[in-house]
């Protein structure tokens, strides 16, 4: 974290390279002793041993309390598709209403007719519709899947949450056997149920086949149960299909370091800039991630087959691919709440080791084996989606920037620890505040939602052609003045849309 300090006469220059901000601060103090003290303090603070000494455990803003709800959804709710009913979330209402009105369903029209006749029904009206919708969706779903609590004490798989969704025909004993066959005990679990055709995305870690090509009957049975009824399924191994996301995480880390170095240079020479950009390979990583996610989404949406995704450990590239594929396919993931819920489910609960991966960012001197900006890569990929489909995503670039910052240094407890087990042990839920809840407070929502958002039911297929991908200016060149103008433009867009809506409301007097 501490870059260097240079002595010049009585003053000393202290360079602090910030972890999350990808920038460097220069402090000039009048005395050398002050500098050394500061340096010492910073060094100590940046390498705290005990996690319970971290700031989230002490952060107590006045407008939030520990008794607030922690997290957006549990897996149980995901299983029941309860996030639909989350009445507090306004964009969900937008989403839901538009969805319902487009259903052109007799029940919906009947509800409308009733509300016209009987004003008392108004209050219940949306609730009726929502429950109707949920029932229609979950009926099918519950036939084939069940919620398993085999991991309730984290003994089967330490990095999984306590509840997971598995095929109905597999019992808990089977799951335990399968867990032994997969690295880290990460047996195949459901991560996405495609409502259009009932196909699913499963994820797991690599099978431990070993040198003698070991097999596991239960594992095979489980996968058979997944594709039950359909002719075939796919297995996507993130390692074979993409060199860049191989188990060697250092490649990604080095890529980030090179890119940040290139962006931080003052000279701005056009020649060397492009070759440095190329040399960092960061955009190649983005390209492979997006194209693999596109492939996955294509398997599910177009071909109509279930897919199992795994890398080596199943905690990095696997999550990256499955998250992106869900964003591409599922419109409910593209709202502000939907996206945060997706992150919570696919990254926090599914056990991406944030503590190990996001410790020191691009400026660490020690080459940490576990350090890898996978989450940053995800945010970059999401940004590419956002840029290519400015109307389809319900959140703004500011949200992605905020998340990128929070993943490295946060006031909140959401990204603490490596998995649910560690968080339980630390009492994160009881002692810290939830970032995702904080991001949904009215004032935050104001700047993190996308004013242009228009719900579309269709999949958003990203272009992965090199000329469609760009460097994420807002993040990597965050501290150059030109990004200021872009922010201004975003602000202008927001004001325009709000002004428009207000005018629309005031010009339509609420007279019956």
């Amino acid at each position: 974290m501490i870059g260097s300090y240079i002595l010049a006469l009585n003053t000393a220059l202290l360079t602090i390279s910030c972890v999350a901000l990808i920038c460097a601060l220069h402090l000039i103090t009048p005395f050398l002793t002050t500098t050394t003290t500061l340096c010492h303090v910073f060094q100590t603070l940046s390498c705290l041993d005990s996690m319970s000494e971290l700031y989230p455990f002490f952060y107590r803003p006045s407008n939030a309390s520990l008794r607030d709800q922690w997290g957006l959804s549990s897996l149980e709710r995901h299983y029941n598709f309860h996030e639909w009913t989350n009445e507090d979330h306004v964009t969900h209402k937008v989403y839901l209403l538009s969805r319902l009105l487009r259903l052109n369903n007799p029940v919906v029209s009947k509800c409308f007719m009733q509300t016209k006749r009987n004003p008392l029904m108004l209050e219940q009206f949306p609730v009726t519709l929502i429950s109707f919708y949920i029932k229609a969706v979950t009926d099918v779903h519950h036939d084939r899947w069940r919620l398993s609590t085999v991991n309730r004490d984290f003994s089967v798989c330490p990095s999984y949450p306590q509840a997971v969704i598995v095929p109905k025909s597999t019992d808990d004993d089977m799951l335990e056997k399968v867990a032994k066959f997969r690295q880290g005990g990460r047996f195949p679990v459901l991560c996405y149920y495609h409502k259009k055709n009932g196909m699913v995305i499963m994820r797991s870690s690599q099978p431990l086949t070993g040198a003698n090509r070991k097999r596991c009957t239960e594992d095979e049975q489980l996968l058979q149960a997944v594709i039950d009824g359909s002719d075939k399924g796919y297995i996507i191994d993130t390692r074979s299909s993409q060199q860049a996301l191989q188990a060697r995480m250092t490649a990604l880390q080095e890529s980030l370091i090179k890119l940040v170095e290139a962006c931080g240079e003052e000279s701005n020479n056009m020649d060397r800039w492009l070759s440095k950009l190329e040399n960092s390979k960061w955009l190649s990583h983005v390209q492979t991630a997006l194209s693999t996610a596109g492939l996955l989404a294509e398997c599910v949406e177009r071909d109509g087959h279930s897919v199992l995704v795994h890398g080596s450990e199943g905690t990095d590239s696997t999550l990256l691919i499955s998250t992106l594929a869900q964003l591409i396919m599922d419109p409910s993931c593209r709202t502000l709440e939907g996206f945060l819920t997706l992150l919570e489910r696919e990254w926090v609960q599914a056990g991406h080791p944030f503590q190990q991966r996001c410790a020191h960012s691009a400026h660490s001197h020690a080459r940490l084996q576990q350090e890898s900006p996978v989450f940053l890569l995800l945010l970059d990929c999401v940004w590419q989606l956002w840029r290519q489909f400015p109307l389809a995503l319900g959140f703004s670039e500011a949200l992605l920037l905020r998340l990128a910052t929070e993943a490295y240094a946060s006031d909140y407890g959401t990204f603490l620890g490596n998995n649910q087990q560690e968080r339980c042990a630390l009492g994160v839920k009881e002692n810290t505040l939830c970032l995702f809840q904080a991001l949904l407070r009215p004032r935050e929502r104001d700047c993190y939602s996308n004013p242009l958002y228009e719900n579309t039911e269709l999949a958003i297929w990203p272009s992965v052609h090199p000329q469609s991908l760009q460097l994420w200016r807002g993040f990597f060149l965050r501290w150059t003045p030109q990004t200021h103008h872009l922010e201004e433009a975003q602000e202008e867009i927001r004001n325009m849309v709000i002004e428009w809506g207000k005018l629309a409301l005031s010009s339509c007097p609420a007279s019956t």
Binding site: T115, Q467, T480, P481, A489, A504, S507
Partner: protein, 739 residues
């Protein structure tokens, strides 16, 4: 808007030039908002020019006959490979090359679904290059029976569109190729599109159109003439400098006529051998931008001809005068300062480097499935962005000198029209908010590019002019006879610089990307007379000076030029046409009073990134565009404001109808979502069900208002069945710009 565009053209063919169009030979395509008349062979006089016997310019290798249309042609969709080829008929006329898909279902449905490609031959740049590509396509792809066989022609357009056409019969293919080669290189002025283009306007309107962009008014806007700068009539007859416009501004102290004596022998041979303006540098320092606040000016000229004769008294006197015109500060008046500027400008390469650079970047865009590494490497190798940056830097340097230090700047490069124009124009845009408006950009291009003109003196330069740059008609000649080495994308680069700036300052420009693309297209399309000819003088009277007759081959052109008579009487100006369509060229984020729109733009050392955008590839599904959405939002807001204002005046009984018919409930929710305010369901539902949408009954229905926000009804970005992820976005890069 495209429909209107075509309607105009169609009317032109029908009512204007070709009376036969009404006859049986015409092929009519029509729909609700679109009428297009395709003429069959005998009806098109221009096609009769395509007699191969009389045309010596067709390369010997092309033995085909000119054709008017070829059926069963496949247009390959480059973004999705040959799987998605559309079959149709290719029509070739003197002014349009049209592909009409002959799927009867889509044709019945509605015209908008009909895939329709129109290429102006003026835009066609090369297919001679592609001629060797004519091969049995099936063979290339192996013996796959599903792939149709045929001969392939690749059309590369000057606006970077690429069309891949598969013609079943090799004979037909040769014919198409011959026709296209001939069509893209008109031999006579009378074949030029702008001379036959005849929109439905009367004479007065046309004359008015030429006065649309008034440079005198622009000088007045800058506060000229004033007590320091005066207008001079020295060049009114173009005797001092032929390529400069007649109205020039010079420092007041420099007006003594002695300054305007042309030094040098003045012999006619010399006159031809050297660009005129270099000869008379000292006389022609002229006002490009005048910054009112700092009283500093940007002036332009060509390089001094120090050569053997050494110094030029008049030149130095002129610069002294320039310095005097700028009280309280110094000017770059002596040789040392020249050096300074020159050093700064050395970064901008000459036209030859630029040309090859552009070719390289086009090649990069045409790579089928490049890896990220290939792409970035190719981009870097082309050096295109480096050149753009150099031009921007030059403009920034000038702008800083004028705005911050209050120093007048004299800009010149070797011959004073390519790089000089680029740097001056960019500086103008940075300095003066006016040039960031739609009208302002028109004025700027008219002044810096059209009226200051290009040199026209030597045979070589002639060819250069003819074969390159913005001069359309000569362009043809350049391809025909001239030296292709003189082609260079000078104005392309300027347009791209403006685009780069608009990306950096999204709120600072009144126009959008589409406007830039439209200008770029018209520069090449030769539909209007604006970009025809090389300088004001030439345009004003397209008569031929005796000097040119020395050059033997030029006589032909001379005759033609005589025949053309006066350009303004035969052609139309592009600016009023663009102005008419300004609604679609407006950047919704532009606010005249906003900080970005005011004052001097200071792009800090632009760090340009890759990111090429393509336009006009109509086959690819349209991307989501926030700008369109915002335009609608803005229009509706304005309309609502007006209505609200009216409402206060009108008594409640006679409330004006609300033309805006967007979904109120949806909007309530949207605003609630944005502001985080809680919403009550009753409110929403009551609003929703409150009243039926009243029909519009205002006196003057605004035609631009859509019933719903555009985005609600926009076709999906990638409808089901769009190309797979693997070949997504492999659409051809057509218009290159770096983001």
């Amino acid at each position: 808007m495209a429909a209107q565009h075509y309607r105009v053209r169609a009317r032109h063919i029908r009512d204007g030039a070709h009376p036969d169009a009404q006859g049986n030979n015409a092929r009519h395509f029509s729909s609700r908002d679109f009428t297009f008349v395709l003429l069959s062979a005998s009806a098109l006089p221009a096609l009769s020019l395509l007699n191969p016997a009389g045309s010596s310019t067709v390369p010997a290798v092309c033995e085909g006959q000119p054709r008017e249309h070829v059926e069963n042609v496949r247009l390959l969709d480059r973004s999705s490979g040959q799987r998605k080829a559309s079959i149709g008929t290719l029509y070739l006329s003197a002014t349009h090359t049209i592909f009409v898909e002959n799927n009867p279902e889509t044709r019945k449905e509605s015209w908008s679904h009909l895939r329709f490609y129109d290429v102006n031959p003026g835009v066609l740049s090369s297919f001679a290059d592609s001629y060797p590509c004519v091969a049995q396509y099936g063979e290339q792809c192996g013996e796959d029976p599903t792939i149709p066989t045929g001969s392939q022609v690749i059309l590369r357009c000057k606006d970077f569109r690429v069309f891949q056409i598969l013609v079943p019969q090799e004979r037909d293919c040769l014919d198409v190729h011959t026709s296209l080669v001939r069509l893209s290189r008109p031999e006579k002025y009378s074949e030029l599109y702008c001379l036959s283009f005849n929109p439905n306007v009367n004479k007065e309107e046309r004359e008015e159109s030429w006065g649309f962009v008034d440079l005198t008014a622009d000088y007045k806007r800058m506060g000229l003439p004033n007590n320091l700068w005066v207008s001079t009539a020295a060049n009114s007859e173009y005797r001092v400098c032929e390529t400069y416009p007649s109205e020039l501004f010079v420092p007041k102290s420099a007006t003594p006529p002695s300054l305007w004596v042309v030094p040098g022998s003045g012999a006619e041979d010399d006159f031809l051998l050297y660009p005129t303006s270099t000869k008379i540098l000292c006389a022609c320092v002229l006002q490009s931008v005048y910054c009112v606040t700092s009283q500093a000016a940007v002036c332009r000229c060509s390089q001094p001809l120090s050569g053997f004769s050494g110094r030029c008294q008049e030149d130095e006197a002129m610069l002294q005068a320039l310095m005097k015109a700028n009280p309280g500060s110094k000017g770059y008046e002596n040789e040392d300062h020249y050096t300074n500027i020159k050093l700064h400008f050395i970064g901008i390469e000459n036209i030859h480097v630029m040309r090859s650079s552009q070719q390289k970047i086009i090649d990069v865009g045409e790579m089928r499935f490049p890896s990220m590494t290939d792409f970035l490497y190719g981009l870097e190798n082309s050096g295109w962005l480096k050149h753009i940056k150099a031009i921007l830097d030059a403009g920034l340097f000038i702008a800083r000198a004028v705005a911050d230090e209050g120093i007048s700047v004299l800009v010149h490069c070797s011959d004073g029209w390519d790089r000089t124009a680029q740097a001056c124009s960019v500086a103008s845009i940075l300095l003066d908010p006016y040039y960031r408006t739609i009208r302002g950009l028109m004025v700027l291009i008219e002044r810096d590019w059209v009226s200051f003109g290009h040199k026209f003196s030597t045979v070589e330069r002639m060819l250069c002019v003819l074969g390159s740059k913005m001069e359309l008609c000569p362009c043809r000649y350049g391809h025909l006879d001239g030296d292709p080495k003189e082609v260079s994308p000078v104005i392309d680069q300027f347009v791209e610089c403006v685009w780069q700036l608009s990306e950096q300052f999204p709120c600072a420009f009144e126009f959008n990307e589409r406007f830039l693309v439209a200008i770029h297209t018209h520069i090449y399309s030769c539909q209007y007379g604006t970009f025809l000819g090389n300088c004001q003088k030439e345009r004003r009277d397209m008569r031929v000076s005796a000097a040119f007759e020395k050059v033997s081959w030029f006589c032909n052109i001379a005759t033609l030029l005589c025949a053309v008579d006066r350009l303004g009487e035969r052609t139309h100006s592009v600016w009023p046409e663009l102005w008419k369509e300004r609604a679609q060229y407006t950047n919704p984020l532009y606010r005249a009073e906003q900080s970005q729109s005011q004052g001097v733009l200071r792009p800090n050392t632009p760090l340009l990134l890759q990111g090429l955008y393509n336009h006009a590839e109509k086959s690819t599904p349209p991307r989501q565009s926030p700008a369109d959405f915002l335009s609608t939002v803005r229009e509706e807001s304005q309309q609502l404001e007006e209505e609200l204002a009216n409402q206060q005046e009108v008594p409640p009984g006679g409330t004006p109808t609300i033309t805006w018919a967007s979904d109120k409930a949806y909007n309530t929710l949207r605003i609630a979502a944005l502001t985080g305010e809680p919403i009550t369901w009753e409110e929403v539902l009551r609003r929703r069900t409150s009243r039926p949408r009243p029909p519009h009954c205002g006196p003057d229905p605004p035609c631009l208002i859509q019933t719903q926000p555009a985005a609600l009804h926009r076709s999906p970005p990638h409808p089901a069945g769009s190309p797979s992820a693997a070949d997504l976005g492999s659409g051809v890069t057509v218009f290159f710009t770096a983001a």
